[in-house]
């Protein structure tokens, strides 16, 4: 069987919409176009009913008690901003210390940086070589000034799954607000805000086969009730937490995406895991000197992040240009710095430059996996034949023993 090119293997970046999601959304663009905030006519009531039903579906998906705990936003970045800045602003009278990790998404890091400028004290916890945070490291970092802890459910680059339940135990014991950026992990690894004592959680539709431009922040309403200072001023929508006319089609699509994931996720994840393992096995069987980045077990089923030593990531991506993947190589960023996540895990910089992230998903087929594996293997060999470092390695020269002139 021939595969259709190009092949998409960058499901961490975004996912295609499930056709069932699109179908559910369509009526809300024209027939049922009302503003959910319009209280005086049926157009508004219809839209409002659809939004409220969606809230319940999404709440159920993440184990929340009520749809009232769901605040709709424009996506993960806004949810993260609202959680961090909104909680910091509300709880600052109790203390000004915030704890997060070095591997969080930029939306968290940059929100924290802004708060630091306003006088907050931010602790960025290190992770192990496997990319996983040790809850005891977190416990030790807590002070009587700590008001907020933010840890991601799963890392977007290496797929490392964080010990959210253990952290939730600690934060609820110490009565510290606990935010989880669940964007990458939700649907692919167990996540339940009640069971895990999560107070705030960011999720987004487009990572789970829903539309772009819609996300949500879960805000706990009881035991304890969490409050935020809104970051968007206006009509007081979303119980005053986020003003702005609701994206009704997006919200309806988001709920449908959650519903599908809720019902089909277990089976789907098993299938994707098999494909991911197949890809990894094929690559490691055929090539020497590859390194799996991130924990082997505590890892998203869809993620494979591998460093191909002696080959530069961008060159490899160019060689497999019909396959959409991403790299931790500096060349893919404007900063010319390799991935901060891989460096935080203690990976040597040359291996960070050599990393490729494969993200598999709902529409990935076995034929695609086999095609990609064969192509990667072939091209890595070509590039290694062209690599002075591989030649030195084969001659037994330790590359680390050479004094390189950094440029």
């Amino acid at each position: 069987m021939t595969v259709k090119l190009p092949i998409y293997m960058d499901y961490h970046a975004t996912t295609p919409m499930d056709p069932r999601v699109l179908k559910t959304m369509l009526p809300y663009f024209n027939d049922s176009f009302g503003n959910a905030a319009s209280r005086t006519h049926s157009f508004g009531w219809t839209a409002d009913a659809a939004v409220e039903k969606s809230r319940e579906t999404i709440a159920e998906f993440i184990g929340a008690k009520s749809g009232k705990e769901i605040v709709f936003t424009s996506g993960a970045t806004e949810s993260d901003n609202l959680a961090i800045k909104g909680a910091a602003e509300y709880y600052q009278s109790r203390g000004k210390h915030i704890i997060t990790t070095v591997i969080e998404h930029k939306a968290i890091h940059d929100s924290c940086k802004r708060l630091a400028k306003q006088g907050f004290d931010i602790t960025y916890l290190p992770v192990g070589e496997n990319g996983v945070l040790d809850p005891e490291v977190l416990r030790a970092a807590i002070t009587d000034q700590t008001i907020l802890v933010s840890v991601m459910l799963a890392n977007n680059e290496v797929g490392a799954i964080q010990p959210i339940a253990e952290i939730g135990k600690i934060t609820s014991e110490k009565k510290i607000v606990f935010h989880v950026d669940a964007v990458q992990g939700v649907g692919k690894t167990p996540f339940n805000v009640e069971e895990m004592n999560v107070d705030l959680a960011s999720i987004t539709a487009h990572k789970i086969y829903g539309p772009k431009g819609v996300g949500a922040l879960y805000v706990r309403r009881s035991k304890p009730r969490i409050r935020l200072v809104a970051q968007m001023d206006g009509g007081g929508h979303e119980r005053g937490n986020r003003s702005g006319t609701l994206n009704v089609p997006g919200i309806v699509g988001f709920a449908k995406a959650c519903e599908i994931m809720h019902h089909e996720g277990a089976e789907e994840n098993e299938r994707i895991l098999k494909l991911r393992n197949r890809l990894h096995a094929k690559i490691t069987d055929a090539l020497d000197e590859t390194k799996l980045n991130g924990d082997e077990k505590k890892r998203l089923i869809s993620n494979l992040n591998v460093s191909f030593a002696f080959v530069e990531g961008e060159a490899l991506m160019m060689a497999i240009k019909d396959v959409a993947v991403s790299s931790g190589s500096a060349c893919t960023s404007a900063s010319l710095e390799p991935s901060y996540v891989l460096r935080a895990m203690g990976l040597d910089e040359d291996l960070a430059h050599s990393s490729i992230r494969f993200g598999l998903g709902r529409f990935t087929t076995e034929e695609e996996v086999d095609y990609v594996a064969d192509l990667v293997i072939k091209k890595v060999k070509v590039l290694r034949d062209m690599s002075p470092l591989y030649e030195m390695f084969q001659e037994g020269i330790d590359i680390k023993s050479i004094e390189w002139a950094a440029h």
Binding site: E312, A315, M318, H353, D385, P388, E391, W404
Partner: protein
């Protein structure tokens, strides 16, 4: 990032990939860059008695633009005298390959690699002549 057609052409069909015997007196070897920075270039030249570069080879660890810059540099210096080759400017490589600003350093590295190989060749020659004089 979109690559220019010339970068793609050199990257897909690189010229002069290979290794010359670095123990050979007439071979100069330049090794520049650093693995931690994501690019390392090794460029070698074989020079005849008239001071003309007869052959040039490279191996590069780096992005597509770095590989293309190496390929172009080796192709350009073949047939030139050592002094002519030493005058090669990175801006010529960057212009020929239409490198965007973030990739200019690839052409700089190629210029450095050429100069380093010539330096190595000249050093060997000086040492050899000094030995011959005894």
């Amino acid at each position: 990032m979109a690559y220019s057609d010339k970068v793609i052409e050199h990257y897909e069909n690189p010229l002069n990939v290979g290794t010359l015997d670095k123990a050979d007196d007439n071979v100069g070897t330049g090794l520049v860059g650093a693995p931690a920075c994501g690019d390392v270039m090794r460029l070698q030249i074989r020079v005849d008695d008239a001071g003309v570069i007869q052959d040039a080879k490279f191996k590069t660890f780096g992005c597509g633009s770095a590989i293309a810059s190496s390929s172009l540099a080796t192709e350009w210096i073949k047939g030139r005298t050592v002094d002519e080759a030493a005058a090669l400017q990175n801006s010529e490589i960057a212009a020929e390959l239409s490198l965007p600003p973030v990739k200019i350093h690839c052409s700089v590295l190629a210029e450095d690699a050429v100069k380093s190989a010539i330096e190595d060749y000249k050093q060997k020659k000086v040492t050899r002549e000094a030995l011959a004089k005894g």
